[in-house]
């Protein structure tokens, strides 16, 4: 392996930990990232001459931390700052490698800072992928189908916002911990979802983002083993990701759950998901993971335990009520108790402003009407759903369903 390539690989593996450790010293993630980059540049300059050190990760870490300490020393306000935070330099800087627990602690601080509520959702997502996922600005831009300049600006602004708001580099304990953790989980879930159900463009799946989110969830589960909802999120994403290969057909067209070839579901991910579920709790991600596990346990679609799934959606509606959850509950109820029972729940959502323009409402309603033999109404619903779908592949699927219902043949 060439020296520059070796440097980049090592840096990518270590960058989140280096940024986290340096941020603890300089108390600013923006400056921390710059110092980490400086260490990378130093390695790129020196290693081709001196050879790759025995412990390249430790070398990068030590270099970045030395620069951080120098910077802190040079700050005029250093003494005052020190008094403010009540710690001394020796504590902030031990030349020995940091203990694994300290690194974990620093990483957690970085997680909570990147997902801080002072930032917009877009900013949290970009910063998390950049600082913790180790993605370049270009990679993030490509994943979200936006210009690189947009992402770069988002990240710069986010760092500035954190500095301006004086967000402390710390793990929240006490009252706002739950809300702050929810924000972290939401960011990871958003990243996954962006990849899982690409809302824009013609792709049904952008697996890269799913994998980045899954890795972040796994990291978080390692950092916070005592938080059941973190395991719930990890379980949910492992189980959702297990279906990736079956979700698209040969031409990239979406394949719905009922039609998926379950032999293509990833057994390793299902096993990991079910194992994580054992450590999960009763929060919204844990309940969604339990629902996903019900699907995973069914060898065939006909074997799905819809009664349990409907009950789980009922619990989910109680802890995290939303029209979308209610819509999913309607589908599960229709499978457990028949389409009429499901339709009653869907029709109760008719005036729901949050679902205006949401293509899945007419899509589900069309499906229930078709099962009840009300073909003309069903056809109109599918056509409406197609006109609302933002994803070209989904639109094609809905138009196809609508067309099927125009034939004079009775449905089997």
């Amino acid at each position: 392996m060439s020296a520059p390539h070796a440097v980049e690989t090592v840096f990518r593996i270590e960058s989140a930990r280096i940024i986290a450790a340096v941020a603890r010293i300089v108390r600013d993630v923006g400056i921390a990232e710059e110092l980490a980059q400086d260490a990378l540049v130093a390695a790129l300059e020196q290693w081709p001459e001196s050879g790759v050190p025995d412990k390249p990760g430790a070398w990068l870490m030590a270099t970045a931390r030395n620069r951080a300490v120098d910077l802190v020393r040079r700050r005029e306000t250093y003494a005052r700052k020190l008094a403010e935070v009540g710690r001394d330099l020796e504590e902030a800087y031990e030349p020995e490698p940091a203990a694994p627990d300290d690194i974990d602690d620093d990483l957690l601080r970085l997680v909570f800072t990147a997902c801080h509520p002072v930032l917009s959702r877009h900013a949290r997502v970009a910063l998390t992928l950049r600082l913790l996922g180790g993605l370049t600005t270009e990679e993030i831009a490509r994943a979200f189908l936006v210009p690189e300049a947009t992402v770069a600006q988002r990240i710069v602004r986010a760092k500035r916002s954190l500095a301006r708001a004086g967000v402390p580099f710390e793990v929240p304990y006490g009252q706002d911990r739950a809300a702050r953790l929810a924000s972290v989980l939401e960011v990871i879930y958003l990243i996954f979802n962006e990849g899982y159900a690409a809302t824009a463009g013609d792709h049904w799946l952008r697996p890269g983002l799913c994998e980045d989110a899954l890795r972040l969830a796994r990291v978080l589960a390692g950092l916070m083993p005592e938080e059941p909802e973190v395991h719930g999120l990890a379980a949910l994403l492992e189980l959702q990701a297990s279906r990736t290969a079956a979700r698209t057909g040969p031409d990239g067209e979406p394949v719905l759950l009922a039609d998926q070839n379950r032999a293509r579901w990833d057994r390793l991910l299902i096993r990991r998901g079910v194992a994580a579920l054992e450590r999960a709790g009763t929060g919204p991600y844990s309940l969604q993971a339990a629902i996903a596990a019900c699907h995973a346990r069914a060898a065939r679609y006909e074997d799905t335990d819809w009664a349990t799934i409907a009950a789980l959606y009922g619990r989910l509606a109680a802890v995290a009520p939303s029209p979308v959850v209610e819509l999913n509950r309607a589908v599960a109820v229709s499978m457990a108790d028949g389409p009429a029972a499901g339709l009653a729940l869907v029709d109760a959502l008719a005036g729901e402003p949050a679902l205006t323009g949401y293509h899945l409402l007419p899509s589900v309603r069309g499906d229930l009407l078709a099962r009840l033999g009300r073909r003309d109404e069903a056809r109109a619903e599918f056509a409406r759903a197609a006109s609302l779908a933002r994803n070209a592949r989904e639109r094609a699927l809905l138009l196809e369903r609508s067309r099927e219902l125009t034939s004079d043949h009775a449905q089997p």
């Binding site: 392996m1 390539h5 070796a6 690989t9 090592v10 990518r12 593996i13 694994p100 974990d104 180790g134 890269g208 994998e211 980045d212 899954l214 890795r215 972040l216 969830a217 796994r218 990291v219 390692g222 950092l223 290969a245 390793l268 990991r272």
Partner: protein, 118 residues
């Protein structure tokens, strides 16, 4: 993000009879924890000695069964891991770190292979 199967091949004849030292086990445990916490390790396990193994061969339309130990093999698979990394270079870097936890008297070859997807 591709996945990799890493096969750890050990020369059983020249490996310490008492197995990994307590210090090695501790170093290995620490590193495996680190790889897991990096969100990279999906699964890993060590295997019992090859003398407990069996080879089943299909050749010329005939099945044959051979119990271990496999005397002609210089190195046998002693363990494996499945990891998910950004690229092969990252998988190789973690593998290097795993091998480097061993004492100098070990001879081990790790084979890093990408798992075919699709």
């Amino acid at each position: 993000m591709p996945r990799f199967l890493t096969l750890i091949r050990v020369d059983e004849k020249n490996a310490p009879a008492e197995g990994p030292s307590p210090e090695l086990q501790e170093r290995m445990g620490k590193l495996l924890e680190e790889i897991t916490k990096a969100g990279v390790m999906l699964e890993t396990a060590g295997l019992t000695p090859s003398e407990d193994g069996t080879r089943v061969t299909w050749e010329g339309g005939e099945l044959s069964v051979t119990d271990g130990p496999f005397t002609e093999a210089k190195e046998v698979i002693g363990g494996y891991s499945i990891s998910q990394c950004k690229d092969k270079a990252e998988a190789v870097e973690w593998t290097k770190r795993f091998l480097a936890t061993h004492e100098d008297y070990w001879t081990i070859t790790a084979e890093v292979r990408e798992i075919a997807e699709g």
